[in-house]
């Protein structure tokens, strides 16, 4: 198992290396840059796939550790990269979507300036995401979490105009504020209960600490989740997300589907399930308030999405709402709910990235930014419109998409859980989802031809293929939900670990 132990480090370093190669490349070497990017993405995907059999079927936990912070006495705190099923799950998502987004971004940014900078930070962003997924303790998580904040700043500010910089500044303010809260929480917890290695079912030291000083444990939980809630856009900490829509489309796609927002949610899952442990968290009484916040976010996000007339802003608020399903799942305190929440981590990623890919295509080819601009797009851009429709149906939760599986599983979980009222939240939210996505789909296919000057409607292949792939995944994952190694099956495995 020695080889496997090196893979987590290799995956992180791979993206860093790609960034280091790309940064100094002159603008004109487009082919070389694309080749390096794609090669990195493919190799990374291969490495992650290599980890699947040992981790999922053999139960191995490849681990790499390096001493990082001195503690004064005894062993220093280490940076730990460890692969458990949840880590692999998230890393797999990022590996697949990174490859597709790279293809998309190469097509999207063709001919624009500062591509080396863009792709350099893009790779660093992925390195940070992989680091987050493989983190074996809270300190390692914190390191990569802050790194992610830093490297996404230049991506959000990429266009370099006043508006982008303003949005990037807002993002930075929120993210750093959240980061400081997490830092304080981690420092405090480390001082009380040691470095808090992630463990399925919760860390033993944390459980012991929570039993003798519950108040401090609750405050620390609030600090951690409050800080993580900024990135995962829990209401009322969500305002940066719609503003960050000024970023180039592939960045928005990545931010919403795998990187920033997901990192926040993933962190919440880690804190609830692997640091505190669901039983301890339940005993502390911190799950129900979080469940209520998540419910409010789900409904409020959908309501705001309904009010938007711009495509990207509607999608942004939809993300606010959809990502909180994950929190909903892990806090409702039932095994089926946890499985549904964790599965939605992946499901939401592939569906939302489809929608963003399509939104970028519409904007590029037809200049369409508002929903009303999409009239008749179905005839001019049939493939894009079809992919968008699949994504939208997924968001609503219609069978046979991945979204249906998530909602079904979450619904089951709600009935099993001590909070059956969550079912109402799911139904109301689905109705709202339908109310803001169906009109868009209707406009696409049945709206009158838009008679304005946007006539081209060309569908560039580099942009279209990734969108079709993710739309295909949405269907495959939905249809094959009970096959081995499907996201749902792996999340069930993870949920069993949580409740063991």
């Amino acid at each position: 198992m020695v080889v496997n132990d090196v893979i987590p480090l290799a995956v992180v370093l791979l993206s860093v290396t790609v960034a280091a190669i790309i940064f100094p490349l002159p603008q004109r070497l487009n082919r070389l840059r694309s080749a390096v990017n794609l090669a990195g993405a493919v190799v990374k995907l291969a490495l992650v796939v290599l980890l699947v059999p040992p981790v999922v079927t053999e139960g191995a936990r490849p681990e790499f550790a390096v001493p990082f912070l001195p503690t004064g006495t005894g062993d220093p705190i280490s940076l730990v990269l460890r692969v458990d099923p949840l880590a692999l799950f998230f890393a797999g998502l990022s590996a697949v979507l990174w490859l597709l987004t790279t293809v998309y971004a190469i097509g999207y940014l063709r001919g624009t300036a500062y591509q080396s900078r863009f792709f350099g930070f893009f790779s660093l962003c992925v390195a940070a995401t992989v680091g987050i997924s493989f983190s074996g303790n809270l300190i390692t998580f914190l390191v990569f979490y802050e790194l992610l904040t830093l490297v996404t700043y230049p991506l959000v500010a990429h266009w370099g105009d006043e508006k982008s910089l303003k949005a990037a500044r807002l993002y930075m303010r929120y993210a750093l504020g959240g980061g400081v809260a997490v830092l304080v929480g981690v420092v405090w917890l480390t001082m009380e209960a040691g470095p808090a290695d992630f463990a399925e079912g919760g860390a033993a030291d944390v459980a012991e600490f929570a039993s003798h000083s519950p108040t401090a444990a609750v405050i620390i939980f609030a600090l951690l989740v409050g800080g993580l809630g900024v990135k995962s856009a829990l209401v009322p900490l969500h305002s940066w997300l719609p503003a960050a829509m000024v970023a180039p489309a592939p960045v928005s796609a990545l931010l919403h589907a795998v990187a920033v927002v997901k990192a926040g949610v993933f962190g919440i899952v880690r804190v609830v399930d692997d640091v505190y442990g669901i039983e301890v968290a339940w005993d502390l009484g911190v799950l129900t308030p979080l469940l209520v916040v998540a419910s409010v976010t789900v409904i409020y996000g959908s309501y705001q999405a309904l009010r938007q007339t711009e495509i990207k802003r509607r999608l942004a608020f939809s993300t606010v709402s959809q990502v909180s399903y994950v929190v909903l799942g892990v806090t409702m305190f039932s095994m089926a709910g946890t499985a549904g929440g964790v599965a939605h981590l992946v499901h939401q990623g592939i569906m939302k990235i489809t929608l963003f890919f399509c939104a970028g295509l519409f904007a590029e080819s037809m200049g369409a930014h508002k929903i009303s601009d999409l009239r008749g797009a179905g005839q001019r851009m049939p493939w894009t419109s079809a992919a968008f429709t699949v994504g939208a149906f997924g968001m609503i939760g219609l069978p046979p998409t991945a979204g249906f599986i998530s909602k079904w599983q979450l619904g089951l979980g709600a009935l099993e859980s001590p909070h059956p009222w969550v079912l109402v939240v799911l139904v109301v939210s689905s109705l709202l989802n339908a109310a803001y996505f169906l009109p868009v789909v209707y406009t696409l296919w049945f709206g009158d031809q838009h008679d304005a000057a946007f006539t081209s409607g060309h569908e560039p292949r580099l942009l279209l293929v990734p969108a079709l792939c993710t739309a295909g995944f949405t269907l495959i994952v939905g249809l094959g939900a009970s096959l081995p190694f499907s996201p749902l099956e792996i999340s069930r495995l993870i949920a069993e670990g949580v409740f063991s």
């Binding site: 004064g72 300036a113 900078r117 390191v143 904040t149 230049p154 750093l176 830092l183 304080v184 009380e192």
Partner: protein, 505 residues
Amino acid sequence: MTFTQFSLGALALLPLLAAALTMLLPHPVRRALGVLVALLVAGFTAPVLGSVTSGELTELVLGGFDAPLGIHLRGDGLAAVFLGVTSLVGVVVTGYAAVLPKSTGAHLSATSWVTSHPGFWPLWLGCWSGLNAVYLSGDLFNLYVSLELVGLTAVALVAVGGQSAWEPALRYLFIAVLGSLMFLAGVGLLAAVTGTLDLHQTRSQLDELEDPTLPLLALTLITVGLAMKVALLPMHRWLVPAHSAAPSAVSPILSGVVIKAALVVLLRCWLWALPAVPGMQWLAWLLGGLGVAAVLVGSVLALRQDRLKPLVAYSTVAQIGYWFVAFPLLLHGEHDGAPLGSGAYNGLVALAAGHAIAKAGLFTAAGFLKDRCGTDKMSALRGAGAHHPVLILAMGMCAVGLLGLPISLGFTGKWQLATAAVGAEQWWVLLVVAAGTLLSAAYLLRGIAPLLLQAEVPENAPAAGPVRGRERLGEIAVLIFGVATIGTGLLGAWLGDLLEVGAWW
């Protein structure tokens, strides 16, 4: 005498000899010699770092006269850390100054001002010699002499910046001399009581002393004098004009390492020379309070600057605050068997070392932009990033260190400071760290973000030209600082081991 012992002596004396030698040489030769000496000093630092890593304390008694008479050099953990940092900063800045001579100031030739100043070389090498001697000195008198050497050369280094730098240099001179006098008075008091100047002997003598008033008075004098030299708020007013008016190659030295020399002396006096005397806590709390004020006020003042170099200088004022916030924790006892004082001390040293590298980088970058564009007004630098992508990237990396985000020594330091504070149940420290981080993010973003604006690069601005030739090397210097800021973040555990060697506890 082993090679490591020889290195100790060479570190203190080689730059001084070279400084004397450069005065006799023409300017181009000075540059070559400067680079050579810088590399040699870095070479001599390596064995000291190596022996401290293996847990050995290297000592050298010059001329065979033992304490209290002779000159006694001690290469312990604290010395090793700062020797290492100073070598890094020194080598890079020396290279920068050699490649871009206009960064060394301006001098009057016949009737007109010429950029570049040959006086930079002897002054800088002399300063470096003083810095190394400060780190290595094992007795109070040598600390005083070396600190004086550092202070006076630093003042002169500011003054080589040309006419506009003379007034700030003069203010700096007053403060430096006043601080030194107070320090000397404190040392004199101690020597009168103990009859020795050696740090260890002073401590053991004072341990036997019944009456704590005299050591306390001496410590107060020493602390106030050194706090002036470190520029702890409210004694910070000299720093901003001096550090921002200094030439581009000097500001990084001043902000990066010169103020650390006074900090090291302060630590030597507080932790090595004096035992815990009653009343010391009050002084520590006072310093802690001033530290908090410095973090907050310095950051807010940095936010209000409209020029880049003063912004970076105020950032130094704010960062100095963190070091003093650690002082009340230094005297704390234990928590669950872990000595809190050592945690706070480790944090303080990590913060100071991280600051040295990151701030040297940021000041080099600011000076580089000022030299290229003729101004450091932020409104005039808008869009400068278009032609300096490497520089902006490097500035961003340095900013990570100053923010105290991972991975950097700044983060390691904050982490240790925060854990020590939680252990001592001093929750206010967490608040200060949090507020300081957010404020520093605000001012650093204010300084760096306008450079990223792409829409409005003024056509005829000097910044509009791409970087070519030698200036490219100047950018590389900043990049080295940036990479080092991030890279040293992985050395936190090693730093903790180093500081164990010859520690006061």
